[in-house]
Amino acid sequence: MKRYYNHFEKLHPITLIIYFIGVIFLSFMFDEPVLVSINAVCALTICVLSGGWKTPLYALPLMLFVIVLNPLFSHTGSTVLFYINDNAVTKEAVIFGVRTAFTILSALMWFSFLNRSLSSDKFLYVFSRHLPNTALMVSMIFKCTAEFSLQYKNMSSCCESLGFSLKKGSLSSRLKTGALLLTAVVGAGLESSVDTAVSMKSRGYGLSGKSAVKRYFFSVSDALICAAAILGFSGVILLWAMKTNAAAAAVYAVLLNIPFLFNLVKEIKWKLIR
């Protein structure tokens, strides 16, 4: 299965955030089966095209879980299919279960696509201009966690050869060794954090008037997609509230396909350049 390049990730982070907030919000807002199925189809398409079949497969067990459990717990409905232990399993409960399962599938697919398009760096960048200290702290946490696990790996392999084994021996001795190692790694982390603090102070951390370097370019495509997202999603909600379901569904379908259409246009442009 060929994976197509995801051009959507090259957009400005703020565009991506606005689009995804709209999509996720609407995923959980609608109950209408038609809208749910449109959502599921679009989400599945874009996710599979950019990432392959693996992610939907992870969603499958959860979906089956919901489909099976919903009728077992909810007995409302008029068409009874069969009885289990005097509890009615109704057709309506099964259909509702399927609908919930598809909502979950869509949400998972959209989050997976979001993960692929919006890296932690980009997400942080949006906040660094308005919440600089929070953004810095999150960046440091990422760095510290990576370092912590590396430090732990180093220490455990050395101590292994000195007799402090995490793999052999009784459970209590392994737990004790684990606790010792953890204390030592945390201690080492604290020591190096003193150096980091001095380095930060040396480079002016804490001075007032912090600026932020502009790293992403807000292009015409960004402006168009932002506008489409905001107008479109509010339009869908409005049309749905006014009960013009067909129009709402049509606008919804177009909007959910924005990433797909964007990638398609870019792919065509690249092919034409060659």
């Binding site: 990422f142 050395c158 007799g163 010792l180 190096s192 980091t196 930060m200 912090k210």
Partner: protein, 533 residues
Amino acid sequence: MEAYKVENFSFKYPGCEREVLRNISFSIGVGEFVLVLGKTGCGKTTLLRNLKPTVAPAGKRDGSISFFGEGISCADEKRLIKSIGFVFQNPSSQIVCDSALDEMCFAAENLGMPSELIKRRMAEICTLFSTSELLDKKTDELSGGEKQMLNLMSVLMTKPEVIILDEPLAQLDPACAENFLRAVHKLCKDFGTSIIISEHNSQGLFALADKVLVIEDGTVGFFGEAGQAASYLSEKGGSLSEYLPVSARLCEKLAAPPAFTCAEARAVYRDNKERISVKPEKREELCTQTILRAKNLVFRFEKRGRNILNGLSLDIKCGCALGLVGANGAGKSTLLSVLSGCLKAQEGKVKNDGAKVCLLPQNPDYTFLADSVRRDIDLTLKVNKKDESDLAELTERFQIFEGFEKLYDRNPLDLSAGQKQKLTLLKVLIADGDVILMDECEKGLDAQAKRELGEVIACLKRDGKAIVFISHNPSFVYENADETALIFAGEVIARQPTREFFCGNEIYTTPMGQISLDITESAFTLEEVCVSE
């Protein structure tokens, strides 16, 4: 106008009776390259930290330090932060952010520089040092040398007038260190930035330094030109003379004016050829009993990646120290991990007849698991099912542990580098390791600690253990390895007894080896050169 003028500066840490620094006076001009030398614990770091108030330790100060004519304690903090750049010793712990780009902009953003200026400065610096690819990476993917370069570039973003570097080369291997030094020298000579650098390994630095400051026990031992500093250090003798590069010490032995580059030293060597005879060190007989055998190892980290170990075979013999040398990425550390069992090779076998393999890390701090030395030893004894009598037997058997009991109450992290190595050795002996693998243990050690590490290796050898160590320092390998193996592209290219190995090389050799190449029989250490009158 001088960049720095230090007059009768004294400093005392709170709660200490003795002053760490006493009556220090010196001055540094604009665009000067100053080398600061001194034994571990003499007060170098304290002095350097006091030159930048933001990182200065808390304590009682006397005397004055002025920066471009202005007293440092009353100058504007923001101006000082901008004008004085500080690069610390440990490349990793200085780094704050997880992406290299963020790290580079950190200082500039904190000082409120506008976005366009930040970008422009970043572009200029990367073009100057040709390091644009670095910025795409995450900081944990960078090598030690790249991290230190990133730290230097980050400091440059604020256009400092002075850059202070506290042992920046300690954790770097020689090739990276040279690169880094060249970058720093370029800043000094082309841009007029004053550089203050403290280092133990002064091999390349004497040739670049305008002035040398020698700190002895908290006071100024010497401050002046490099040539005069060399005479001072060789007159003083003892451990201080070890700070001189080999070329200068050779010239002193030949009663000639000091030379600081290998080329100059070669000229002096050639002129005095008739007076020199080379007496190679006497080496012990090599053991032939193989304790660990690796055959045709093939290893790679990722399925589609390249082979790190490519059909590598190696025999490890007991009572013998094997030195592994090779470029970064050649597979040395991976080889040690596979030999110790931490990683499993995809093909090939490691045959080990029940021998216990201990892998020691570069940083001995990684093996310390308790707050006091005594407790750490007790834990090791308990886990290896040994008791006090075994410990007593070990400390008696090995002379190296004489006086070790005095350290029992101290925190292992507070010990000196040499003492830390000894503690790790004791733990290895308690654990009955038969094969000891050391990954660059001599990095960041001063001459004294390197000697103590050499004693540790000799001690283990005499006890019949097999030792394999990785080192980037040719002198250390020459002095401590019985056999040397060159690893390249995942294979063992050459393996010979050490002296023959070095004699066969023209490029990878000790500084003394470079000097004596093709002039007389190869001498690899200064002790091998005998001068007659």
